[in-house]
């Protein structure tokens, strides 16, 4: 059992939890994820690590209450326990030696991007950050990010904060303005990552994306997290979750993400009853 040390509501339905997990905290690297299960009947779900604190032995997770498990998780409070919490899984991000990086985060994807921004900032890289959300209410972690970023740009769909439009508008503008980035890191909804890659491909800037496919075990056993990258099949849990965004088959990934849409609806209807 893993104790929830702190819980904060960052935005409507977006929750941050700090979970006491000394062994995982000791090993965690930006880009890695954990698997958790809330209850005896619960599903195992992967969540990318949003931060780790080696002083208080805590792993931070940030999630949006969208499904069965995330809603159950959201019902827990500080002092409660998460039944199962295992990791850190996947390979850590390859951030060493990068001089100038553009980090692009969308929605709840800003959360897993944050430890990378922090790591880059701490190692002295020059980091530009573009984060986007539906509206100002949904922009998360902007103050934390500003601690490490040279420039932080915000976009909202409705224009309630920052630029009205998409993150890709700013990405294009920054590159066109002559910024020479070693690398672009994009984490967010699949269509956003795809759109960012479409731009950076044209400019030939290496771009890393973080995939979050459906998984059962997360340890290289079920094979459910198959991702096609450069025509080859990889397992996101052991080979990823980060891949070369220019080679990822996003259309396939988007389709696979919807595999249980119908079942999610059944779950939802059952709960309402």
């Amino acid at each position: 059992m893993f104790e929830i040390l702190d819980k904060r509501i960052l935005a409507p339905n977006i929750v941050l939890m700090k979970v006491k997990a000394p062994l995982i905290t000791k090993k965690a690297m930006p880009g890695q994820f954990i698997m958790l299960r809330v209850s005896e009947e619960g599903e195992r779900i992967p969540l990318t690590i949003a931060d780790y604190d080696r002083q208080e032995d805590s792993i931070s997770i940030i999630f949006q209450e969208v499904g069965f498990t995330t809603r159950d998780l959201g019902n827990l409070e500080a002092g409660d326990y998460i039944r199962d919490f295992a990791g850190p899984l996947g390979r850590g991000s390859n951030l060493e030696g990068l001089n100038k990086v553009l980090c692009v985060g969308g929605g709840v994807g800003i959360a897993p991007l944050y430890p990378q921004i922090k790591f880059l900032g701490e190692q002295g890289s020059y980091v530009d950050v573009v984060i986007g959300a539906r509206s100002s209410d949904y922009v998360i972690l902007q103050d934390e990010i500003k601690n490490y970023a040279a420039n932080t740009y915000i976009t909202t769909d409705d224009g309630s904060l920052g630029h009205k439009g998409f993150v890709t508008d700013i990405v294009k503008e920054l590159i066109d303005r002559g910024n020479q980035y070693d690398s672009v890191i994009a984490v967010g909804p699949l269509p956003m990552m795809k759109a960012v890659c479409d731009i950076t491909k044209k400019y030939n800037i290496p771009t890393t994306v973080s995939m979050n496919p459906i998984m059962v075990d997360g340890t290289g056993m079920c094979g459910g997290c198959r991702v096609t990258v450069g025509g080859k099949v990889y397992y996101a849990c052991v080979d990823g979750p980060e891949f070369d965004g220019h080679l990822v088959d996003f259309d396939e990934a988007i389709r696979r993400q919807h595999m249980y849409k119908k079942e999610e609806q059944i779950e939802h209807d059952c709960r309402i009853k």
């Binding site: 062994l23 619960g42 599903e43 195992r44 094979g223 198959r226 099949v233 052991v238 396939e252 779950e267």
Partner: protein, 472 residues
């Protein structure tokens, strides 16, 4: 005394009923049936059955106790060498092992050793769990990685020898393949849980949610003071055929399909929160026990038509005869000498499976005849779910994070066959992580061998230390 050539039949659930439920297929013997079957054993002077058993159970001895009606003693005799008889009695391929060597098998049917083992274990189970066994501890701690058959067997033997044993399990529940892989209708999970409870009574500690290679590495375990580590991490990444369409929605590996059903209880969705696609027409590719398990599970989830698609003929199928027989009784269709070449999709979902007919050529390195595609023989089968059950390759998490651990090119850990010792000092391994996909009992045998080797090694070390100390 004349030989009784036929076995006492075992009562089973009717195929038409059982194909709609996950309850165990076989009811097992009752006391009367067991005694009657045990009496068929002629108690050979030189019993061949024992050599056929990977853990060398004294089979005539336990059967003699059953025939006398002393089931406690029978169970004790089995437990001298096998800690998990309720499991082995069910899932061991006895027809290739102990029973294959039974002298009665020459003229008639061999003694039903497996059924008798299962009976003895089940009959005494509740009793044995209640007893707490007192073992003198030697204060030495050993780490076991994985709580599947090899890990459980190694842990039990080491605990009995007085070692403090800590098992590390990556999942939230111990049992490995016994829990996530083998379905309820072949191996009730209640039994596995009871066997594990029995292990805990021996003082073994099980830590779940710890992924060795990630949460803690093998080297860190040794640094922490574990005097030896046994790796029984099991099978790993599922194999696919590398044919077009394998990433369509509706294509599963057998690992994923069975894990969703067994470990995550997806058959009880939405009460259990893990979903699974319940197809109407399901094709399972492969001919092993895992393929049979997946096919029969699909049927129990409500599929109207389930087929096994296998590229060789039925004779070459690696699945147990009993499993093939049960599958057929339940109405599974067998498309043998058939090989998939493409999974055809519509709107991203599986629509049909394109296959070619095969014929058998010359024997290959495994001794089985090589299947060869017959030109222009392709045809399609309408399906909505495809399950790939064609094996696994070893999990990379441990081998990629442990320095000095040598592996074969295909990823299996290299060990000394007699001891299970790896290329790394104090590190032993066994089970599927070493052999690739094999059986529960072979994994258990490997766990036992390693336990013995670890004990001998540590005894030797202690003696050397003593010698050195006395010279000072």
């Amino acid at each position: 005394m004349s030989l009784i050539l036929d076995r006492v039949p075992v009562r089973e659930q009717d195929p038409q009923i059982r194909k709609h439920n996950f309850n165990e297929v076989s009811f097992g013997y009752n006391l009367v049936e067991a005694i009657q079957e045990a009496k068929r054993c002629i108690q050979c002077k030189k019993p061949r059955c024992i050599d056929g058993c990977p853990v060398n159970i004294d089979i005539p001895k336990f059967i003699a106790h059953v025939s006398e009606g002393d089931i406690d003693k029978a169970n004790e005799a089995i437990k001298e060498t096998n800690n998990l008889p309720a499991i082995c009695g069910r899932v061991c391929p006895q027809e290739e092992q102990c029973e294959a060597r039974c002298i009665l098998g020459i003229k008639g049917e061999p003694v039903a050793i497996g059924r008798l083992e299962r009976f003895a274990a089940d009959y005494t189970m509740d009793k044995t769990i209640q007893e707490s066994i007192q073992i003198e501890k030697n204060g030495i701690t050993i780490a076991v990685v994985g709580s599947g058959p090899s890990g459980l067997a190694a842990a039990a033997d080491l605990a009995k020898l007085g070692y403090e044993v800590h098992i590390f399990e990556a999942f939230h529940e111990p049992g490995g393949v016994l829990i996530y892989g083998i379905p309820e209708f072949r191996l009730p999970k209640k039994l596995v849980k009871k066997e594990i409870e029995g292990l805990k009574k021996l003082g073994v500690k099980i830590y779940t949610n710890i992924i060795i290679g990630k949460t803690i590495t093998i080297d860190e375990l040794l640094e922490k003071g574990y005097k030896a580590v046994f790796i029984g991490s099991g099978a790993g990444l599922p194999k696919f055929m590398n044919i077009p369409g394998e990433n369509l929605n509706g294509v599963y590996s057998a690992n994923e399909y069975l894990t969703r059903i067994n470990l995550m209880k997806a058959y009880d969705f939405p009460n259990s929160h893990t979903p699974i696609k319940k197809g109407k027409r399901v094709a399972v590719v492969g001919g092993g026990n895992v393929a049979m398990d997946a096919a029969r599970s699909a049927l129990r989830l409500g599929a109207e038509e389930v087929r096994i698609v296998y590229r060789r003929s039925e004779e070459e199928m690696p699945a147990r005869l009993e499993e093939v027989h049960h599958a057929k009784e339940e109405g599974i269709i067998f498309d043998v000498l058939t090989n998939p070449v493409e999974i055809i999709g519509q709107d991203g979902w599986v629509k049909s499976l394109k296959c070619v007919r095969m014929e058998l050529g010359e024997p290959d390195s495994s001794g089985r005849r090589t299947p060869i595609a017959i030109p222009n023989s392709d045809f399609t089968i309408d399906v909505d779910i495809v399950i790939m059950a064609i094996g696994t390759s070893p999990n990379p998490l441990i081998i990629s994070t442990t320095e000095g651990l040598k592996t074969h090119s295909w990823g299996g850990i290299i060990v000394d066959e007699e001891t299970g010792a790896t290329s790394k000092d104090r590190v032993y391994a066994g089970g599927d992580a070493v052999t690739g996909a094999a059986t529960v009992i072979l994994a258990m045998g490997a766990g036992k061998k390693a336990a013995k080797a670890i004990h001998e090694r540590l005894l030797y070390e202690a003696k050397e230390k003593e010698k050195y100390a006395s010279k000072m």
